[in-house]
Symmetry: C2
Subunit: 222 residues, 2 copies
Amino acid sequence: MPDSASVIPRSTLQEEIATRLRAEIVEGFWEPGARLQERILCERYGVSRSPLRETFQILVKEGLLELLPGRGAVVTRPTMTDALENIEVLIALESMSIALACERASDAALAEIESLHEKMRKSVDENKVKNFYKFNNAVHTAIVHASGNSAMIAAHANHQRHITRLQNLSGALQAITADSLAEHDEFVGALLARDADKASEKLRAHLNTTAEKIRLRILESE
Amino acid sequence: MPDSASVIPRSTLQEEIATRLRAEIVEGFWEPGARLQERILCERYGVSRSPLRETFQILVKEGLLELLPGRGAVVTRPTMTDALENIEVLIALESMSIALACERASDAALAEIESLHEKMRKSVDENKVKNFYKFNNAVHTAIVHASGNSAMIAAHANHQRHITRLQNLSGALQAITADSLAEHDEFVGALLARDADKASEKLRAHLNTTAEKIRLRILESE
DNA sequence: TTATTGTATATTGCATGCAATATTGATATC
DNA sequence: GATATCAATATTGCATGCAATATACAATAA
């Protein structure tokens, strides 16, 4: 019997479908509230209903789909309240991650974060909005990876995805994050100096400005 | 067309199976490393393979199962490293939650937490170990609920489950948490006084003592 | 004996079948 | 014209079928 370490990894159909469908929902191809009929998706992906329905369960867990009994899969509608809840979770995960990264991350990992930060700065200088969001998210993701905690990394990805989705759908958060470069300077600087307390506090402050703006929007819309 | 608010909620088969199988894995009925053959589980739960396989995807997302292509579902083996990773995530989520709870929770919610805390104290006095773990976990869960953040609540449940499972499987963490009453006094006291910074710091310190003990065990076992 | 090969059986991964429910759309009613 | 009713159709939820793969086991060789 081969032990699990020597088993050649094989990809499953559900993983493939999940990757495609997830990306299409996050990119906005499938609109919030859209009903996903099994037959249509089966034809689109060239698979049968069994692996597709298994995939639905994955995306339900990720918060991208809702399954209404008797009525099938519906794309969730991201609200500002959802965004706020997810941001609060990201504050928790990222402020912990950056502290861990200060203690544990390799110099190479920190250098990579600094490099992404500089690319983000350049995107601002050149007014390339799409790149700005890309590198902004990349910096946050890299910090969590630098924690070396795989449970943290997985949880973060699940929550960050919802923020990315809102950015893609509406540009609703664009103005919100556009002035964040100076704040990034602060927590990236503290991270490079491996000052865990300061890095954690500055990252928390940064995300809190976003959270506060979302709270204001929620209040306005009531 | 009835709008979604008026739809009578129906439970699905996957939810039922997931609830049962999840509980059985967490309780240790299915041992770490056990292979879950579809036929056996189908007979046990009186369902067919389709809803069972959909349930597998849910429990994979929760980290309780692993799906090996061609070889089916296997119960994951919780390791001390997993426990440490999950504790670090819990530190992040709970320290944020208690700060939010200080600001937002109703007096009734705080009173409920205090009541659970007193039940935990009583369990210690009466040396009822099982109740101690039950109310210990209940206090932590109630604090996260008091944050009012449903994304936080869901994420916390997913990570706390792994710690509960380790407690059930081996009693491995029992000695680790047995001396935590005094620490609970500290952060519950700060929460009741709605002192967010102090509550957050004391809760973090409490969970850090557990994390440190796990780190020591990992070092010893290497 | 232990290791190896070949074969029978069991199990999985995906496809399809079927009954119950939901949706659609035409007709009738106000 | 708007609304209600009911039959026709489509879709879902779960069960089952089938081919490919994995497992178990007996026969054989070292």
